[in-house]
Amino acid sequence: MRDRALNALVAALLTVLTLASGSAHALLPIQDWKTSSGARVLFVENHDLPMLDVSVDFPAGSGFDTKEKAGRAAFTQRLLRLGAGGLSENEISRRIADVGAQLGGRFDSDRAGVNLRTLSNPAEREPALEVMAKVLLEPEFPEDVLARERLRAIAGLKEADTKPDTLANRAFSRAVFPDHPYGLRASGEVATVRGLAREDLIGFYRSHYLATRAVVAIMGDATRGEAEQIAERLTAGLPRAASEPDRIPKVDDLARAADIDIAHPASQAHILIGAPGIRRTDPDYFALFVGNYILGGGGFESRLTDEVRSKRGLAYSVYSYFMPLERRGPFRIGLQTRGDQAKAAIEVVMRTLREFLGNGPTEQELEDAKMNLIGGFPLRIDSNRKIHEYLAVIGFYDLPLSYLEDFVPNIRKVDVAAIKAAFARHVHPSKLVTVVVGGGVAAAAQR
């Protein structure tokens, strides 16, 4: 039996992409509505596989932490699944495993949430959803579990702080986002985690896991009616806003460049270079997206990979990216190289970046990038998981429901001048943070 529903969906999408714009309605059939409690729902119905992906996210990521209570947002999310609605943590794990489901969490600077992958057959789906509802609506934050998780987290933090990549990430975030929660470590610091109390987590849950700010994404084998019931069930008892909900503060430009050197016995130097980048809603999003593909995002084809790896053998992996967030997320270049090559590698990276900022990409590079991004569009939505991820992002950042239909036209519109102008607006080589961790004595002596 050949079920071609998803293919038809992609085909329809591709058709509309090749037509002149002005089509009246979206052909990627994203359905959206609000639950009775005010949560936003995005749903794509697809019956190819007997499975269902469901997530509920909130603006409750580490961007809502404070310096004094760093780690509170992550701990709140982590504890949801460790005791809820009268079920112990082990009962939660076992009930989920009993039906072969997977209950996971999502956590980043902006978002926190819970996601579920389950078979769609009601015998499996219903018990899985029941557990998920308890986790979302009736978390207990047991004192005893919290005490243990605090100790585990502290051990994990101490361990992580011996790793050169962790040290580099921490130093980078602090320097790029001084005095901003994006600069805090999501998992907290030893001192702040030690001080997290049950009331902190309950308070954070009540003020941030709000029905009116929840985004439910559902993809897969359910009817509209079933999806409506699922969304109701997962959001009906969520907290109501008592006061005006929190917002993540604005991110400022860096005043000046910063060079940070951290000694570590690792044989490689871990190098990070960057600065605050853009918001998810920035009008330059697509110009930077295409431009960065050429600079350091496009696998083997990027300029950074060509210069650093292919031509000189200086690194196994070198990349650049923008991570657009609710507020301005980082622009970042990263690589690792043998300690005594660190200086040379940084010089190659900076020369490549300056050259790119000065002259922009060539027409040929732009054409290559567009061919990849446009021709590869079907690969972005070729599985339930990928479509589900898009639903969650579109809902959370309030992107247009036509985001996927608009994707290819938006790429097509980008030209060399737009990339040059966008990079000039957002990347300032004289105000970059450069972090180097490790590489041993040879590297330290050089710097």
């Binding site: 050949r2 071609r4 998803l6 293919n7 992609v10 085909a11 190819d48 596989l49 499975m51 699944r81 943590e89 082990n90 009962e91 794990s93 076992r94 495993a97 009993d98 072969g100 489901a101 980043d108 078979l119 100790l151 051990a155 994990g156 101490k158 361990e159 702080d161 050169p164 962790t166 470590r185 998992s187 000694a263 570590h264 016995p265 690792a266 044989s267 490689q268 696998g299 083997f300 084809e301 060509d306 031509k311 000189r312 200086l314 196994y316 992996s317 300690g339 290559d368 990849n372 991004l373 446009i374 021709g375 590869g376 079907p378 690969l379 939505i381 070729d382 599985s383 041993g440 004595v441």
Partner: protein, 475 residues
């Protein structure tokens, strides 16, 4: 059935060392992290053999106008000799360096211009190359794969440069990671003669001394159609792929392959222990037991019982190791189990743990052994057995959401001499496993004489002379 995902760098939690470690068995040219899920109650696989001996497997998946194409060569680090360890992986890197028709760098560029993504991976047992792209561009991928199967240029200059990249990869993956050093040391200690003791990426000294001639020889010996398998999953028909395979690969002549080494590890006569000192805060523990591997899926039952044992110990967050050691006694900050029983070399059952602050690896070793002993003495409960089976059945459905996972499953089984039919058959065989069988394997294989233990002794970041960087390369 073990599912591994590379940990998010944001997570400070040191959970599931075993899972992270299994990644070091397979190396990719560029980082990526597909799930190794068990596969589906599956749509059929079309199967062909070209006149030159190349085998072709096609699974239709018409959900999107996309295909995954993989060419697998049955050669990996298990075929390597001491002195040139890592040559399979080094050759994998060189396969992107051009032919007369497709110059250096053009392979990936053309795939990218067709909207595709490409990469490769090397394991102990095989080397595989893949492209994911729009179905219409499958001919491009196959044409270029056929070209580099026969016409690769291996220049001394490019080889020298790429070896530097590979050495950076080794530093990044292994030398600067205590977990990886432990796993590498563990395998080299648990096995004395079998080449599974060698790291896939190769020993650093072998990489430093490797010559382009080594890669040329390797290519000449093993890159032949009769040692290759094409796997295509996606929006295509079987005959269509068969036709394309004949067109592009059919003209490449079969070659006589070298005799494969017949390796067997002799019986272990007592426990083995090693200590790794590396910059770290927490100590940790990694234990390997010699266990059977899967040879005959119809007759063997022990490998399936060992799979279930792994699930009972570590199949979910409330499974025995977590419930007992992390959540219960709180001896461990993390604990895990993993069975490697599908491969060309011997089987291994791994147990791992990181002690909680104030606890020792010695206490944890006893606690891990006690969990296995408990199963040997008391068996497992029916609800535990049912839970593992439910997870296996569901994972089989979930795997069908990923064309990549499906292609990988087919290729990895065929490459090691098992049939892709095992994808479905193993689910049935796992469902037949009884509580008594799980108890029996726990009784039979977990004795100290077949045990190797690696312990990480943390070193302060400042208190140790850093390793001096190697002084240039020989070309």
């Amino acid at each position: 059935m073990l599912q591994c995902q590379r940990k998010s760098p944001k997570v400070a939690d040191s959970s599931m060392r075993v899972c992270a470690l299994l990644w070091f068995i397979v190396l990719a040219v560029n980082g990526f992290a597909p799930a190794l899920a068990a596969a589906a109650a599956s749509p059929p696989v079309h199967e062909y053999r070209l006149d030159n001996g190349m085998r072709v497997f096609v699974r239709e998946d018409h959900r999107a106008p996309v295909v995954v194409s993989m060419v697998w060569y049955v050669v990996g680090s298990v075929d390597e000799l001491n002195g040139t360890t890592g040559v399979s992986h080094a050759l994998e890197h060189m396969m992107f360096k051009g032919t007369e028709r497709i110059p250096n760098g053009e392979f990936s560029r053309r795939i990218a211009r067709a909207g595709g993504r490409d990469n490769a991976f090397t394991s102990r047992d095989y080397t595989a190359y893949f492209q994911t792209l729009h179905r219409d561009h499958l001919p491009l991928a196959l044409e270029m794969e056929a070209d580099r199967m026969a016409n690769l240029i291996l220049s001394k200059d490019e080889f020298g440069k790429e070896l530097r990249v590979v050495m950076e990869e080794r530093r990044w993956r292994t030398d600067d990671r205590p977990d990886s050093l432990m796993y590498e040391g563990l395998m080299a200690t648990a096995l004395l003669s079998h080449p599974y003791r060698q790291p896939v990426i190769g020993w650093m000294n072998d990489l430093k001394n490797m010559q382009v001639e080594d890669a040329r020889n390797w290519y000449r010996q093993w890159y032949a159609p009769n040692n290759a398998i094409l796997v295509v999953v996606g929006d295509v028909g079987g005959e269509e792929v068969h036709e394309l395979a004949r067109k592009y690969f059919g003209g490449i002549a079969a070659r006589e392959l070298p005799a494969r080494g017949k390796f067997a590890e002799s019986e272990q006569r007592g426990p083995r222990r090693i200590t790794i000192k590396a910059p770290s805060e927490l100590p940790s523990l990694l234990m390997a037991y010699r266990v059977p591997k899967l040879e005959d899926p119809e007759k063997d039952w022990e490998p399936f019982a060992l799979d279930v044992l792994e699930g009972v110990l570590d199949g979910h967050d409330g499974a025995r190791l977590q419930a007992a050691l992390v959540r219960g006694s709180r001896l461990a900050a993390a604990a895990g189990a993993g069975y490697q029983g599908v491969g060309r070399g011997p089987g291994t059952f791994l147990l791992s743990a990181t002690p909680s602050e104030g606890k020792t690896v010695e206490e944890l070793e006893q606690a891990l052994k006690a969990e296995v002993r408990r199963i040997a003495a008391e068996g497992v409960r029916e609800d535990e057995l049912a839970r593992v089976k439910a997870q296996v059945v569901a994972a089989q459905v979930y795997a069908r959401d990923s064309m990549f996972a499906q292609a990988r499953q087919i290729g990895s089984l065929e490459a090691i001499g098992l049939s892709h039919r095992l994808i479905d058959r193993q689910v049935e065989r796992l469902r037949e496993v009884t509580a008594e069988q799980v108890q029996q394997v726990a009784q039979r294989y977990f004795n100290d004489d077949a045990l190797t233990v690696a312990v990480l002794r943390p070193q302060p970041l400042s208190g140790k002379r850093p390793p001096s960087p190697p002084s240039g390369l020989r070309h």
